[in-house]
Amino acid sequence: MTALLLLTHEPADRVNRMIDGWETKTRPAHIVVAYGGSENEFAAIKGKKVFVEDPRLRTNDHQREKQSYTRVLEGAVRLLADCEWDSLYLAEYDILPIVDDLFERLREHADSEKADLLGHRAWRIDDTLHAHYSNHIAEQRWLEWIAGISIRDDKNVVLSCLGCGQWWRREAVEAVIALGEPVAAYLELHLPTAAHHLGFRVRGIKNQDPFVSTNPFCGQDEASLAAKGAWLAHPFKSLWK
């Protein structure tokens, strides 16, 4: 049973349409909205919701300010504490769900990969020239903290995956949240790397990576993307208007 966590800062009317859209399309077991917008708009959002005040979420220059989703995940999991779910899907507001059985497909993929965390553009980056890695090794504290919590033999491994569209097994997300984040790191490194060093298996969703980009999709609609094999697509900034 997959719970859906929708992360957004959009106006309440759009958020409510987004909730309806995801509910109708993908039928998650539960939906939680984590909100990074204004308190007035938050009040008008329906259903389970958590207002995230953390300045580490409300960043402008996300990478340089080391944006964090730790409080987002923590708030959502707290709201879901008494609910029945065994996996959590984190969707940013600009993900377009394309297939009706998205969560079944993700579950199948995770099971076949024996994965505890699935992410897009998942890479091992500690042997690469990845800009985020270069930036994080300039300040050793985070790497030292990771080494301190690691149960792995190789404590130097650093993983990266996009923040949007992450699928988590419950045990893994709860364990990563329980760590907290005493040393700031960018979420695309912190989440998969912390999960890895706690002993969980992190894998990619490679067949969907072509549909998850940092550049907006132009001139392509849901049907054409579906015909190309997309389960979902990102980013669609004008969804749910």
């Binding site: 024996k114 505890d116 553009r121 998942a122 890479w123 091992r124 980056i125 042997d127 690469t128 020239l129 990845h130 800009a131 890695y133 149960i151 792995r152 491994v157 993983l159 990266s160 998969p192 890895h196 706690l198 002993g199 969980f200 298996r201 992190v202 894998r203 990619g204 490679k206």
Partner: protein, 81 residues
């Protein structure tokens, strides 16, 4: 246009092709600039982070060595909990 976009545009026209040393796949382009004992890649257009790798050489040579690049590895570590 910000400096990043400008450098990528220039690299897209004038830069060297960055080829995966293992597969031959073109990963993107960049202006490759040696400076003060380091190699700088300016305006990198690759969509994946580059992994520096030794380039295989059929002929043994002591006067020349080459640094190449490859696509990153996917994480593939078991669950050990």
């Amino acid at each position: 246009m910000n400096p990043g976009d400008l450098s990528r545009r220039v690299a897209g026209i004038l830069g060297s092709r960055i080829v995966d040393a293992n597969t031959g796949e073109v990963l993107g382009k960049a202006i490759v600039l040696p400076w003060r004992g380091r190699i700088h890649l300016i305006g990198l257009t690759c969509s994946v982070p580059l992994r520096p790798v030794a380039v295989s050489s059929q002929r043994l040579s002591y006067w020349r060595t080459s640094l190449g690049f490859a696509a990153p590895r996917e994480p593939d570590f078991p669950n050990i909990r």
